[in-house]
Symmetry: C3
Subunit: 383 residues, 3 copies
């Protein structure tokens, strides 16, 4: 035998290294945007394709784009409430199918861009309905409302593309408000709970429970899917980590900022505990911190600013719409993110064109080479 022990050890270590590299490669396969999947699915059955499009759509709600994240999120929703899970599934399928039927761009459909608004409409209809779970008639407005999102999405996209802005969740926000206005709290067919604005005064001046408020931070991430339970919220957070850890950090950060903003203007305690104070901040923070802009310390500061703006705007809009018995949904975060995308000055230099938005880590890598030149430009336009 000519192989000595040293060579043997080297071989063993090399094998181990190659194994761990393979594992990490396999892990990397399931993180980020999983773009290779699109090519792989091209000649598969329509039902399989639809499933992937739908799961991408589910993850799009929380600004991710990964079918596995979508599956995890869907599992979290079914875990929290099977009826809500069903509504979400119906919503995402109804709107994706409507997009196929009305001939929307196939790339957009495959990217899940026509699923997330419908899913949100469906989920929120379930949350606001006062007819109880498994009220099957609710599937009718859920399907129609989800389908309507496609019309709004397509029209808005045409309108906004001049500024390279995404239609985002404007369609969901519009449709759910119109649905709630159509039916009203006492509707004989589709009754729903009236909304309590966060500025409403509390009858008994209870003490603020600090620990429960801390629980509101992960709940703020869950509330993006109208999910108010702690464990499913952590699963949803896990789904975001799978797509991009950086995005997950910003989600938690934004949710915390939202709770701070709520404390500063003394909103109802229930609003802090349930995570409703945090979810707009989370969305506003995620959009700026890494997704639509290359991540660095400057965009990170802008992301925190965006979280504060989203959170305060949400309190304001909730109080205004609450006077009409309506929820503010994610109007605040959507408007704030749109505003940040329109901004000139420092932030604009880090803007990623909408068509090239990928997972934050991917954005960072693809941009890092030509970053140096850009920061120079940014410096020279400074006052």
């Amino acid at each position: 035998m000519w192989m000595d022990s040293k060579a043997e050890m080297e071989w063993a270590s090399r094998t181990r290294a190659s194994f761990s590299r393979r594992v990490s490669n396999a892990l990397l396969l399931f993180t980020g945007d999983m773009e290779y999947l699109d090519k792989f699915m091209q000649d598969k059955w329509f039902v399989l394709q639809l499933a992937v499009w739908g799961l991408r759509g589910v993850s799009r709600v929380i600004l991710a784009n990964n079918p596995l994240s979508g599956a995890l999120i869907l599992a979290a929703l079914y875990w929290d409430s099977p009826w809500q899970g069903l509504l979400g599934t119906v919503g995402v399928l109804a709107s994706t199918l409507t997009a196929v039927i009305t001939g929307q761009d196939s790339g957009e459909v495959a990217g899940g861009l026509h699923g997330f608004n419908g899913m949100l409409v469906s989920l929120l209809m379930g949350v606001f309905s006062s007819a109880g779970d498994w009220y099957w008639w609710l599937l009718l407005p859920a399907c129609l409302g989800s389908a309507t999102c496609i019309f709004l999405y397509s029209g808005l996209a045409t309108f906004l593309q001049h500024w390279d802005l995404p239609a985002a969740v404007f369609p969901f926000n519009t449709v759910i408000v119109l649905y709630l206005l159509c039916t009203g709290p006492n509707n004989p067919y589709f009754p729903h709970y009236p909304t309590v604005p966060p500025g409403e005064l509390e009858h008994n001046g209870t003490e603020l429970a600090a620990l429960t408020v801390l629980g509101g931070i992960p709940l703020g991430v869950g509330q993006i899917f109208a999910c108010g339970a702690l464990k499913p919220s952590f699963l949803i957070l896990g789904a975001v980590v799978l797509y991009s850890p950086l995005l997950a950090v910003h989600a938690l950060l934004g949710s915390a900022v939202g709770i701070l903003a709520g404390l500063s203007v003394a909103v109802r305690h229930q609003s802090l505990y349930s995570g409703l104070s945090g979810f707009n901040g989370a969305l506003g923070c995620m959009a700026v911190g890494g997704l639509f802009f290359t991540f660095n310390w400057r965009t990170h500061l802008f992301a925190i600013t965006s979280a504060f703006l989203s959170a305060y705007a949400d309190i304001a809009l909730s109080n205004m719409l609450g006077a009409l018995g309506l929820p503010a949904c994610s109007w605040a975060a959507t408007l704030t993110a749109t505003l940040m995308l329109l901004l000139s000055g420092n932030l604009a230099t880090y803007r990623i064109p909408i068509g090239q938005v990928k997972a934050p880590e991917h954005n960072l890598r693809s941009r890092s080479q030509w970053e140096a030149g850009n920061t120079l430009d940014a410096e020279s336009t400074d006052v």
Copy 2:
């Protein structure tokens, strides 16, 4: 005599044919857009020109463009209520004259594009006024409000032309809401009735009268001119048939869809009986079915969708604005039609540029030759 009886009969039949052709030609002269009239009127008195521009403006309210239709509609309004007829006449003249004075494009003025918003403002001021008929002071806000429409129309047209969108009845909807907000129900000079939202609960649970609801379908067409009487509504429908039978069919269809939508969310019965549930559906259906898009079975389905969207949006907006004591007018149909014009996908392939919109039958004829190529394109962009 060399002419035998067979030749005689042939000659007679040819004469009859030529006579009926002449009659049908004469009839065709008065249908559609009557474009030849513009050349004929060019060197006539200004008062005559103004009359034709005004009558075109009257017909523009219901998406037609034919002075004879306008005359029929004006007759219907005078038949229903001479005071309303007078207000309509004053409104259309005030806004057309303002357009001339402020130097708007002469082609647009001649096409009646600066008359319809003013007419609607004037009519609705009369309908909402609680000071009774022949309250002459009302002519002052009627004239000023109609004139204001020109400013809004011109400004909005500049804003929207980037997307090739029409200013439509946005000016009317804005001005009437501002007028009602300015004066309020208890104004000492210009009092008006408060609006009852359609979602308001009925005090006594009366049975729905099926026949009266059916009467709401033609009334929905009349309500486009704020006319709530059955016979004048049929005359208005006749005026639309004169311009384009296809448009009239879509008006009735849309009105019926609007009533269906109203039934599905249990609006007040009075809202169904009076045709107020139907008129937004009618407008939404007419805009898509043949006017802004070439008519075919696809656009026909989109027209029905548009009618449903308009009708539901109208219920939602009526409930929201009703909380402030305001009517929703035709906001819903105007917004929905604008959305449909922005849509990408299948529908966009049938879109007719705003500058080339004519009567649906004319649109159909001028497009039919290059239709084949277009559907192919539409097919290839399908998913």
Copy 3:
């Protein structure tokens, strides 16, 4: 001596003429836009530069652009109430510094374009606060609100530049409404007075005091800075005269028009007396009469129209927002001025591109040479 008395007198008169020319030149130095100052300040200390930028920002509120006018206005505010003066100073500095930090265009910052919205937000927070003067905690939202204006200004400017429209005071109007919605009347930290809509009925039918109404005309100019005292209002008017007498005339004219409009729909007397009826009219009139359009009798008529539209729209919006306990601020004038800038027809021919807007007198001079050709164009597009 060879110099006779005639030559002596000539010399004396020449000296006098040269002296008066020098005085008038020195006066001219301090009127208009004082553009030479920018070059002079370029290499000075940052604090001095910031002071000039801030003072320009103060004068920008009333559509002027002159640091001396700004200083006079600031003096008037401190005269009326030192606390309000301090708030204004803090607001203009906070927003200008935010613009510097976020890397906004240095030319815009130097022109004071990033100061006026912040100042208004800060001033209005003080006016609406029911916590009394010298409530130091108020500086916190004042600074944050002023900083937020920069984000809205920058985003809106990008959005509106397609139509060559200015972001104007949209940011201020948005931020102040959001702030008031966030806190609400009974907020424990930042309480504020509820707003009384101008259409509210008066309990006792008091007679209108004609003289007090006349006093509302100059107060309408002061109310642009939320200043309700007569003498400081005259000082503010003086500051406008220093920048441009033509603008000052339009300010008074617009304020008078606003009071006329208020009388015509019977608003509360208090609204007329305090100048709140007039300030939107004043702003609407100033924007069209000489600032964004070359001054002549046509644009003068359009300026009066704009004043009426602004005033009526203000009454309407005040009634609507008042139902939610919110003020209408200068939404009406801002929207109306934006509409006038979008107008086609006669008015459009006199439009000055946003980048070249200077003091009305300067606009007049620089345009007068090529006016002839333009009016010809305007004539030929008339109907």
